[in-house]
Amino acid sequence: MNARTTRVLQCSAVLVAAGLVLTACGSSGGSSSSGQSKSPSFTGRGPITYAAAKDSSGVVQKVIDSWNTQHPKEKVTFVQLPADVNQQRQQMIQNAETKSDAYTVLSMDVVWTSEFAAHQWIDQLPAARFPLDKMLKPTVETAKYRGNLYAVPAASDGGVLYYRTDLLKKAGISAAPTTWAEMKADCAKVKQLPEAKGMSCYAGQFEKYEGLTVNFAEAVNSAGGVITDAGGKPDVDTPAAKKGLDFLVDSFKDGTIPKEAITYQEEEGRQAFQSGKLIFLRNWPYVYSLAQKSKVAGKFAVAPLPGLTGPGSSSLGGHNVALSSFAKNKATALDFMKFFTSETSASTFLKDASLAPPYESLYDDAALVKQYPYLPVLKKSILGAVPRPRVVQYGDASSAVQQEAYAALTGDKSSAQALKDLQSDLQKSAAQ
């Protein structure tokens, strides 16, 4: 049995040694790749992959297929990732950590750019190769890190206000509210109606997840505050930010927002709106076509988000495509990214999967507006949108926002205290 023990020992020793060799190789590979990303050379042609969440409409595969027929020697394979955004990010980071070339072009949430760029998991891109000037400016900003382009906008998204036209009309209100005070006043009138019995006024996404960061940021921005200033420094402990947060906190207290909305993600809010429990709902454009098939069909419309003294500002959603630093055939990849983010592709994505395009001109296309009546409102929303904090440790920043905003909304902390704590958390995280 001593022989056996020794054998096991030898085995594990070999494995450990192998492990150390691997890491040694790994780190040397890392330093060479950092050289690459400072002066990226996009060489090599051949098959590549595109990694993104699966899309049920099949439009991504359709666009890839049309590329593949034109480029039979540089075929793109669609690597499907899980539907959950956190799992997508985790898979991409795992592949970056192992310096795997399994993913070439990455479909990234707009808030990941800084983190991926700072870790040099993605390459800096030549801005001149892409028609950025035709795109909505805020979307292009989400693709940049320290002024350099690291990704290309593929789809955008912005929050809009859904409201019940039938009820507002009955209560004698002709236009959607542009301020929070107007919205509350409209609700008071609508609630006098017998058909509005048991309805609540407003809801957004207030569960403790990324959606809360979005909704908190929108409230703060719509009251004239910021989370991080132009230089990326946290500046959230301000009177303006407090007014924004107080709108949410007070709305929870006075019942404008129903208390169960603290558990709402996008889908719960959509469900409540569709079943006639809400007069106003903050959500993304995807709700539009689904709600048209529900019992509120034809009874609702969209408007820009309301704010403190006038129209509010939305947070910016959407996806960019980026190029993995560890990939092969980067020349092909760059061409494919150009193809994938072209105006033609964007219009296909909009037609087939109702993805908001980054191109300004598509929002004014009469045929498309007929198909998607919310487009003009969405354009306004995106043009006035404020990106979520663009920091390297975005995950930490967003967690801190969720932690403090949630505490304020549930009454565990005063809004003043929550903002003070958030400011110091964000400063700590930025100092890391």
């Binding site: 899980p82 539907a83 689904l290």
Partner: protein, 277 residues
């Protein structure tokens, strides 16, 4: 006497009903949700207002590759179970029947090593498997699955072998069997309930594995059922395809239930079957 017997039968059926209700009610909810139309998926009525198979059709759309995923799951879980059971039988035999040093330590190590959080072992394993070219292979999913199946199998089988009386084997060996034969012909049949139970539990554990299967594959034709389900999407990133997720949940559960139905006689009648030989 008869009244107490009747009362006891009553009590038994009451207990059966309670346990079955607790086990099946949530599953029933899953089934009902999977049969609702997507437009009334959020209903809380106990019966679907109109039965629809649209969720099942969505699961089996060719682009989902769900049939292939079920087959992959079967291959991965089946191989894992078979190999783990074979290795575990050897080890458990040694643990239950042989005297040697470090036994206690080895048993402790076997169990403790298996308990390292998967999130922490997945990155080193991914590095290792990338380097030896195992990405997108069955073995890249089977070998790591051993880490949680094997310890469970070893421990279970050791307990069951240990419960078998030594005298049986000794008697067989006096009759001229080798120790291996004695083990195979006497102990294994007698321990059948334990072995089949272990097999079922191992199979289910491997069948439900997700993180490793997700990380080690990036081709659709290699993904397992749990990975395929995680990739179900609605029309957009926010739209959760709850109905098809529930339908898929029913679909991955049913094969296991059928398997248990087939093997349950083995689980329960192991001892009698063994003794009759």
């Amino acid at each position: 006497m008869t009244t107490t017997a009747k009362g006891r039968t009553w009590l038994l059926y009451l207990g059966v009903a309670a346990v079955v209700a607790y086990c099946l009610a949530p599953f029933y909810w899953m089934l009902v949700s999977s049969l609702r139309r997507s437009s009334d998926i959020f209903d809380t009525s106990l019966l679907p207002s109109s039965v629809s198979f649209e969720n099942y059709r969505a699961v089996f759309q060719p682009s989902q590759g769900f049939g292939r995923a079920l087959l992959n799951s079967l291959i991965v879980a089946g191989t894992t179970t078979a190999v783990a059971l074979l290795l575990a039988t050897f080890t458990a035999y040694a643990m239950a029947r042989l005297e040697f040093r470090f036994k206690r330590l080895i048993l402790t190590l076997i169990i403790a090593t298996s308990m390292f959080p998967v999130v922490s072992i997945v990155v080193p394993l991914l590095k290792l498997f990338t380097n030896i070219g195992w990405i997108n292979t069955y073995q890249a999913m089977i070998v790591p699955s051993m880490s949680f199946v094997l310890p469970l199998a070893v421990w279970n089988l050791t307990t069951f072998f240990k419960q078998m009386p030594d005298e049986l084997e000794e008697a067989a060996m006096i009759d001229g069997c080798t120790r291996g034969q004695a083990f195979r012909k006497v102990i294994i049949p007698l321990a059948a309930p334990g072995i089949f139970t272990t097999a079922i539990i191992s199979f289910i554990a491997a069948w439900n594995e997700f993180v490793i299967a997700l990380s080690m594959t990036n081709k659709q034709q290699m993904q397992t059922a749990t990975v395929a389900i995680s990739k179900f999407t609605g029309a957009t990133q926010f739209d959760i395809p709850f109905g098809s997720q529930m339908a898929a949940g029913v679909l991955v559960t049913v094969p296991l239930v059928i398997m248990v139905l087939i093997f349950q006689r083995r689980i329960v009648d192991g001892l009698t079957a063994g003794a009759a030989k």
